[in-house]
């Protein structure tokens, strides 16, 4: 082997890798792309072939694999090092100002984009997911309990508000805490059977719980309206003043010209306030014994018990408080939409919120907010390429996980420090 020049040996290895990759691509694509079934004019299915496209794809994979093997040999692509040092330093310093900057931007959105209804609605959607992300962050990020059924609490909150408002004609501000309490109650109810479970097993049970709630909503026709959902849920009022083009409405009371945007702006600030409340409570809780016990439980449950920490109540409070914020978000969702049905509470929502938390960096409030903005906002940006947006998103998520395996913001801020500089 010593007489073979390293360059030609590399080329041979690259050729081998590329051939393998090409074969795999051929095997994958031969049926997916090479063959296609179409309905003929007579109504029967007929098979058409697209071997040209297939050949192009396989050739592209072959060329890509060959180049990759030549340039990076057989080592993994050093994605981390591909980011220049200066850029990494910039990102670190930007992170410090990111939180206040994002907050100021969020406060100004209704002012800046007052006339752009689409952007305001998008902002409300993003903030709803920020709030859900922050709520789930308590359960997954802090307490380390992998919850795949978070949407159940979102649903409980939404249906609580919808039923209380339509059946008992209670105002939004009374329903909101009630919905939160009911969701927290369901959080505890879920918590009890899963006390002994961790990791994968916990994930499966919570996943099932989410589905159970959805199926109950779907089938309990007499209460939830089944698949028809609950229509004409009361819209929010400005502390008693309805957003209506009538005497005694918000606009006429404040001497403004009626505009439907008023309600959207109000909703925007409402969800912003709710999200900030979630954030404030979470930050506060992290510095309290309960928050530290959550984090300690995530690190080592047995050690917690050896220190006299009641892991049962610690887990239940994590579930309850996380669920409560999910419930708040749910009742906001119900009042914003004016109509809810079980369709809005599918597993996809749980998965999306969990993806936001994991991509953002478990436990990081700022990371979750950025991830929600990127995921939900970015998803909307790619609406025009609707066929490819799932592809783009999957690809982006894989890249982020390679580049930052522990989420966008992986550094953990200590909940307290010793203060004085040590000798």
């Amino acid at each position: 082997m010593s007489d073979v020049a390293p360059a030609s040996r590399n080329a041979a290895l690259a050729l081998k890798d590329a051939t393998l990759a090409g074969l795999v691509a051929f095997g994958l694509f031969v049926f997916l792309i090479g063959l296609r079934t179409e309905q003929s004019s007579s109504g029967a299915l007929e098979i058409t072939t697209r071997f040209q496209t297939l050949a192009m794809l396989v050739a592209a994979v072959f060329a890509g694999a060959f180049l990759r093997a030549l340039i990076f040999a057989r080592t993994p692509i050093p994605l981390g090092r591909m980011m220049p040092e200066s850029l990494a330093g910039f990102a670190a310093s930007a992170a410090r100002f990111a939180a206040p900057a994002l907050l100021i931007f969020a406060l100004l959105v209704p002012v800046l984009f007052y006339s752009n209804r689409y952007l305001l609605d998008l902002g409300i959607l993003v903030l709803t997911y920020v709030m859900l992300g922050w709520g789930l962050n308590i359960v997954v990020g802090l307490a380390g309990l992998l919850d795949l059924g978070y949407v159940a609490f979102y649903a409980v909150g939404a249906y609580s508000y919808a039923l209380l408002a339509t059946q008992f004609h209670l105002s939004f501000w009374i329903c909101l805490p009630l919905a939160g309490i009911l969701a927290a109650f369901w959080g505890i109810l879920l918590g009890f059977p899963v006390l002994r479970l961790r990791g994968d097993y916990l994930a499966i049970v919570t996943l099932a719980f989410g589905e159970i709630i959805r199926l109950v909503l779907l089938n309990w026709q007499s209460v939830t309206g089944g698949p028809n959902g609950i229509p004409s849920i009361p819209r929010p009022s400005f502390f008693g003043l309805p957003f209506a083009d009538a005497e005694g409405g918000f606009a006429s009371t404040f001497g403004l010209e009626y505009s439907p945007t008023h309600r959207v702006v109000f909703l925007f600030y409402l969800i912003l306030a709710l999200a900030l409340l979630t954030n404030w409570v979470t930050i506060r809780l992290r510095r309290l014994p309960i928050g530290r016990a959550w984090e300690a439980m995530r690190e080592d449950e047995i050690a917690c018990r050896s220190l006299g920490i009641n892991t049962t109540t610690t887990k239940l409070t994590a579930f309850a408080i996380g669920a409560m914020f999910g419930g708040f978000a749910g009742s906001f969702f119900a009042t914003r939409q004016g109509f809810i049905s079980p369709e809005s509470f599918s597993f996809n929502e749980s998965a999306l919120v969990l993806a936001i938390v994991v991509l953002g960096g478990m436990g990081s409030q700022l990371g979750v907010a950025i991830a929600a903005l990127v995921m939900i906002g970015g998803f909307e940006l790619f609406r025009e390429f609707q066929l490819y947006r799932m592809l783009v998103f999957g690809f982006a998520m894989v890249l982020i996980m390679i580049w930052r395996p522990r989420g966008l913001i992986a550094t953990r801020e200590p909940s307290l420090t010793l203060g004085d500089p040590k000798p």
Partner: protein, 279 residues
């Protein structure tokens, strides 16, 4: 020796896992402010005894009685998991270190003071509002943590992640964390495992300091005989779940049964034993 009353009394403790008898009718006492060592070959059931005392296992049979200096007594086999640490104030460390490695050293020590802090935070509500009573309690907790960090020479590393410490430092941190719960009885599961000679010397000093300055009795599982013989007042030897000897370090050192358990017996003794049972 008879003048000090026992703090821990283990009576007829048995622990079975299915058909396996890990601990068989074990009785011993540990005296207040003593360092009691539990030794024995691998698999003798030492850690099982520890797990029974600290509430991680519920013993199949037997009684474990812990008496506080104020006269209150607890039956540990009836208290389950966290209550042993919370009510009876028994703290423990683990054979394979269990720290909260993602959290800082200081946070580890503050987590250990969870119960008093939780009460001071009014079960979170007073703390959420930032009341003074909680802020004072937190400051006190940090001071206690600082005291133990100083004692274990970890003050310099207070704000580093616990997982980033060197092995010996992690061992010391685990002891400091256990001491932050203000225990009456401290159970150490092989604290000197993996330490070099200098570090185990420091460990001896630390344990003797704890015994001298704090009203804490120590129960110790250890293989390192330099630690056991130098600091313990009383040694209990286990083999196959049965107590084979019990006494002062000197007596244990010369006990033929202990030597046999650790080193095995000579061939002629085997022949004698076989003759005795009629083989």
């Amino acid at each position: 020796m008879t003048d000090t009353e026992p703090i821990l009394r283990v009576e007829h403790l048995s622990m079975r896992f299915g058909g396996l008898v890990a601990v068989d009718d074990l009785s011993f006492t540990a005296k207040r402010a003593d360092i009691t060592a539990l030794i024995g070959p691998n698999g003798a059931g030492k850690t099982t005894v520890f797990n029974c005392i600290t509430g991680f296992y519920k013993p199949t049979a037997g009684l474990i009685r812990l008496e506080h200096p104020d006269g209150r007594a607890y039956l540990l086999e009836r208290l389950l998991n966290f209550r042993v640490a919370k009510l009876a104030r028994v703290a423990r460390t683990f054979q394979n270190i269990r720290l909260f490695s993602g959290m800082t050293v200081l946070e580890n020590l503050v987590v250990a003071q969870h119960n008093p802090l939780m009460a001071a935070s009014g079960f979170t509500f007073a703390g959420l509002l930032g009341l003074k009573v909680y802020r004072d309690a937190e400051r006190e907790a940090i001071e206690r943590a600082r005291y133990w960090l100083d004692r274990t020479a970890l003050l310099r590393r207070a704000d580093d992640a616990a997982g980033a410490l060197a092995y010996g430092e992690q061992r010391r941190l685990e002891i400091a964390r256990a001491m932050c719960t203000d225990p009456v009885l401290l159970c150490l599961d092989e604290p000197a495992a993996g330490l070099n000679a200098r570090e185990s010397g420091e460990l001896n000093d630390l344990l003797q300091f704890i015994r001298r300055e704090h009203a804490t009795s120590i129960l110790l599982i250890e293989h390192d005989m330099s630690v056991v013989m130098e600091i313990s007042d009383h040694v209990v030897v286990l083999d196959y779940g049965i107590k084979i000897a019990d006494g002062s370090p000197d007596a244990i050192r010369n006990d033929p049964k202990v030597i046999a358990a650790y080193l095995g017996v000579a061939d002629d003794e085997v022949a004698m034993a076989e003759a005795e049972v009629g083989l």
